[in-house]
Symmetry: C2
Subunit: 300 residues, 2 copies
C-alpha cells in the first residue's frame, strides 16, 4: 500500500498509472503536478488525481512514490525543484523513452540522493494524449523496463516494480545502455524512417497524386509519423549516438537491397523478403504465446 | 448484365470480384480457371464460381469478361493460352500491381487483339489469401485504377469500368507509366523498406532481445513485411527502374536526416517531423471526407 503518490504530468502515461493503482486499491492519496492548469483540472474532474499540488514542496511532503511522466527534456528541471524537499522515504521513478540521458540529468539534479531514483520506461501508448486518454488498463500485459542504478536499494527497486505489477505490467530489467541500444533499433529508427518517408513524399510536386493512391500499407507503415515532432526531436537528440549507428546500419542494408535489384537478382531479393516474413511471423507467434500466459512472462 | 465471366485465379482478388458481381445480380455464369485444383474446388463449394472450366477453350467460349487475378509473372503464359480462342466480343482485364510490364506481356501474347485487353489494378487487399478470404465487400469504397490502351474502344473500357463499379469501387484512370511511378513511391518502396528492416534485425546476434522489446510501432511499421516474398520479388523486378529511383531518393533523404542528427540540429529535425505529421494528418482527413461522400469520389 502506497499512502501517497505524486504524478508529474497527468497525461496518458501518468494518468493511466494513477488510474490503474487506484483501481487496484493500492494507493491512499494521488497528487498531481504539471505545467498545464487545464490538464490538472481535467485530471481531477476525471478522478485520476485526488488533488492538485499547491507547490512542489506540498506535493513531496510524505510522498512514497513519485512518477515523472512529463517530456524527457524536462527531467532535470523537475528533479531540481524536487531535490530540496526530497524526503528519505520517497522513491522517484520515470517513464522516459531514453534512459542514459535521463540518468545523467537525474545525477546532476539529485547529487547524493540519486539512490532514490529508479529509472523506468513503460512500453505502452495509444494514438491519443492527455488526461482524457488515460485508462486503467493501459499497462495490462505490457512490458515495463526498469534500468536500476547501482545505488538503488532492493527495497526501492521492489517498490517501483510492485507498483507497475499492480498496474498489470510485466517488469523487465536492462542496463540503461542496453535499453537505449535496443530501442534505437526497434523504436527510434522506425519512427525516423516513417517521418522521413512522409516528409519526402509531401515535398514532391505530385504529392497530391501520391497521397491519393496511398493505401492501407502506406497507412500502417507511416502511422508512427503521426507522433509528436517535439517528443521525437528530443528522443533523437538524447539518443543520438545509438540512432546514428542504426541509421548507418540501415543505410548499408538499403544500399545492399538496391544492388540486388539493380542486378535483377531475384533469388537474393526473395531470400531477404522471406527471411523478414519468417522472422516477423515467428515474432507474432511469440507475442500471442506470451499474451496467453502473462504470468510466466514476468521477469521480476 | 454480363452473361458469362471467367476468373483466372480464384483467390482473394478474383474470388471477391466474382462474389461482388454475384451479389449485385450482374452476372449469369461465373467460370473459374487456375493452377490449383484444390482452390478451384473450394471456390466452387463457397459459391464464388458456378463451375470449373474443363479447358481454356471451354472457359473462353461466349465469355463477356475475363479477369486475370493470377500472379503478375503468369500474365504472358495465361494470355498466350487465351489468344487462340479469344472471341471478338470478349474483354479481358487484370488485377496486377504493375501495369507497364503487364501491358508488354499482353502485347506479346495477344498481338493485334491487344485492343481487347483493358489493364487494371484494384487497390484493395487483406492479410489473408485464397478463396476462403474472398468477400463480396472487398472493393466497396476502394479505388480501382484502369490504365487504358489507345487501342481500347469506349465500349470495352465502359464494360470493365461498370463491372468494378458494380463491385462498389471508385474507378480512376491513369497512364500505365504514371501508375507504376506512383505505386513505386507509395507501395513498392515502403514494402521493400519494411522487408529490409526486419531482415536486418533478424540477422543480428541480439535479434531475440530486439524482437522481445519491439512494440506496436514496430508492428505496424513492419506489417507489410508479412507479405508474400514471391509476389514482391516479382513486383520489384517488373517495376525495377521506378523502384531504383525511389530507393535513391529515399537514400538521399535518410542521408540528409543523418546529417541533421549528427549536427544536433534540433530545429531541422523538428521541421521534418512536423511536416510529415501535418501531411499525414491532412491525408487522413481527406480519406475520411472521401469515405463520407463515396459517390462524389467516383471519377468515371
Amino acid at each position: 500500500m502506497l499512502n501517497k503518490i505524486v504524478i508529474f504530468g497527468v497525461g496518458l502515461i501518468g494518468g493511466s498509472f494513477a488510474s490503474a493503482l487506484r483501481k487496484a486499491g493500492a494507493v491512499g492519496e494521488i497528487v498531481g503536478v504539471g505545467r498545464s492548469t487545464a490538464s490538472l483540472q481535467r485530471a481531477k474532474e476525471l478522478g485520476l488525481i485526488d488533488r492538485i499540488a499547491t507547490s512542489v514542496e506540498d506535493a513531496m511532503r510524505n510522498a512514497d512514490l513519485v512518477l515523472l511522466a512529463a517530456p524527457v527534456a524536462q527531467t532535470h528541471a523537475i528533479l531540481s525543484r524536487i531535490q530540496p524537499c526530497l524526503e528519505s522515504q520517497t522513491v522517484i521513478t520515470d517513464a522516459g523513452s531514453i534512459k542514459g540521458e535521463v540518468i545523467a540529468a537525474a545525477e546532476r539534479a539529485l547529487g547524493a540522493q540519486i539512490a532514490q531514483f529508479v529509472p523506468g520506461h513503460p512500453i505502452a501508448g495509444r494514438e491519443t494524449t492527455g488526461p482524457e486518454a488515460a485508462i486503467p488498463d493501459l499497462y495490462v500485459g505490457k512490458k515495463v523496463v526498469l534500468t536500476p542504478l547501482p545505488q538503488n536499494s532492493q527495497e526501492q527497486l521492489a517498490r517501483v516494480t510492485q507498483a507497475w505489477q499492480l498496474c498489470g505490467a510485466n517488469v523487465h530489467m536492462l542496463s540503461a545502455q542496453e535499453h537505449d541500444t535496443v530501442f534505437a533499433a526497434v523504436s527510434h529508427l522506425p519512427h525516423l524512417l516513417a517521418f522521413a518517408l512522409v516528409d519526402e513524399c509531401a515535398r514532391r510536386d505530385n504529392a497530391d497524386t501520391l497521397f491519393n493512391y496511398a493505401a492501407s500499407g502506406f497507412r500502417d507503415f507511416t502511422r508512427i509519423a503521426g507522433s509528436s515532432p517535439e517528443m521525437w526531436r528530443d528522443i533523437a537528440l538524447t539518443n543520438k549516438a545509438a540512432i546514428l549507428g542504426e541509421l548507418d546500419t540501415y543505410l548499408q542494408q538499403i544500399t545492399a537491397l538496391r544492388a540486388m535489384l539493380a542486378a535483377s537478382d531475384g533469388p537474393a531479393l526473395e531470400a531477404m523478403f522471406a527471411n523478414a516474413q519468417n522472422a516477423r511471423h515467428a515474432w507474432l507467434q511469440n507475442i500471442e504465446k506470451a499474451e496467453a500466459q502473462p504470468e510466466q512472462d514476468r521477469d521480476a
